[in-house]
Symmetry: C2
Subunit: 289 residues, 2 copies
């Protein structure tokens, strides 16, 4: 384990904490900000109607500290308000563009285990946006780091696995390819699409689940190299920093709620093992088998 990897967690509002960082410092910002909510919560309960105004000055700081080759990934989803999808997310996209951001792409996170419920006029919401913004068109992207086994080859290989391998161990590794993940490496690989198929991590009794580790892992691999700097300005319990550390990236996390801040620091002190580099099969493509 390389001890030179730095992981810093700050307690406070990212608007103020980021002011202490220099320009053009980070290679990647990946975050899942507090979603708009009517209830009081961290950041004083951001009403959907005030969400854009609340977000913009913080995005300005993020732009400043991000390198010109860097990427900003924003995981967000609009709530239903009064029977309609609220427009604060699409308004935010437009305002961020006015701020100078390029709206390069919109990745999708397909939540395989979405929240249950039944309503007369609506189905369960099973997806969230992962908006990609950049400062310039010349951003770094390392596509080979997130390649996945090709479908055809995967299909024939699947036939030779036992049924139990397929059903049980699929769920265990979350790979969709059975347990011997290492056997799948150095095979015919394909580039993924802009749709990520991931389950939320429930059962983590410690804290409210934000996004699954696989989500920041994917973007960190895709947009950074080892020793790069990753920022999560709304880091929650520190998932982004935790996986950044595992991937040998330096990271800075900022969290305004003291209890999450403490959990973040605790998570970073837990000794980690490093299976993540071998973990090529977490994502996508294997949903048709």
């Amino acid at each position: 384990m390389p001890t030179e990897i730095k992981s810093e967690i700050h307690l406070g509002d990212c608007l103020e904490i980021l002011a202490t960082y220099p320009d053009n410092f980070f290679d990647l910002i990946v975050t899942s900000p507090p979603y708009a909510d009517n209830r009081a919560n961290s950041y004083g309960g951001i009403n959907p109607d005030n969400y854009v105004a609340w977000f913009l000055p913080r995005a300005q700081q993020m732009s400043r500290v991000l390198k010109s080759t860097g990427t900003f990934i924003l995981n967000i989803k609009e709530k239903v308000v009064n029977g309609e999808r609220h427009t604060y997310v699409i308004e935010l996209i437009e305002e961020l563009r006015k701020q100078g951001w390029l709206w390069t792409e919109e990745f999708l996170w397909h939540k395989k285990n979405c929240y249950p419920g039944k309503w007369p006029n609506r189905f369960r919401d099973a997806w969230e946006r992962c908006l990609q913004f950049n400062k310039t068109k010349n951003f770094n992207m390392y596509q080979e780091a997130v390649m996945v086994p090709m479908g055809d080859w995967a299909k024939t290989r699947l036939k030779n696995l036992s049924d139990t391998d397929k059903t049980r161990d699929n769920s265990k590794v979350g790979s969709g390819f059975g347990k011997n993940v290492s056997n799948w490496l150095d095979r015919k690989m394909a580039y993924p699409t802009n749709v990520l198929h991931l389950a939320t991590e429930t059962g983590n009794r410690q804290h409210s689940a934000v996004f699954p580790k696989a989500l920041p892992i994917w973007f960190i691999k895709l947009f950074t190299q080892k020793d790069d700097w990753v920022l999560d300005p709304f880091c929650g319990v520190g998932t982004t920093c935790e996986v950044a550390q595992s991937l040998y990236r330096h990271s800075v996390g900022i969290e305004i709620k003291p209890e999450y801040y403490e959990l973040s620091k605790a998570n970073l002190n837990v000794p980690v093992n490093y299976p993540l580099f071998e973990d090529h099969n977490q994502y996508g493509k294997n949903h048709t088998e």
Copy 2:
């Protein structure tokens, strides 16, 4: 085949054709309009920057002819222009709301076999939006018509099928559940989510691919009953009308390009068989196997 089902195809601009229809006539509008494009095409080549202005008067007519209990499904996806996702779709959402439409939901079509390709700064685009708009909150929705087998039950059931059943017949029916689809009915079913997993229909080189039949089928089942009226104001080769007819719904299709108009009429005259009512397993949920 019930001969009383009416299927009308018109040649022309829907802005003018719809003017000949009365208020509150249709139960569902489902369409995939011509995408913004810089090249000359039907409707005179709609530049992305002019797309919203071009669309709005047509949406006004659609609103007029749609019943208050009806639904408008808009299948659309923004193009990449100059390295960025263009904003005409999210602008359109906001303008349609100003026009009085309610933005009830955004369904996703996950294209399981998306267009191949490789770019240095972008992955393949594997999803499109299916925006749901309504005139009121009291729209009709028939959720039971699109229920799918539950995940766990599907998994355990899969174990008892032979490998050849799984691989061979999966690809054949595209159902993901093997061949005896009817046996899966009246079992433990769950409501679907707002994510549709559908493959595009390749091989039909006759015309530019619009959407797969399964897409309008799903929305027609979800938002209409038999003998209801369905409209596709940009019907292309008539896919929507064709499946509406198969599902015993009356339909009106409008197309401005003469060659597509002719194909639409031809498709409606082809004798159809009616497997669609038994076909509950086309969609979603079974993408993790």
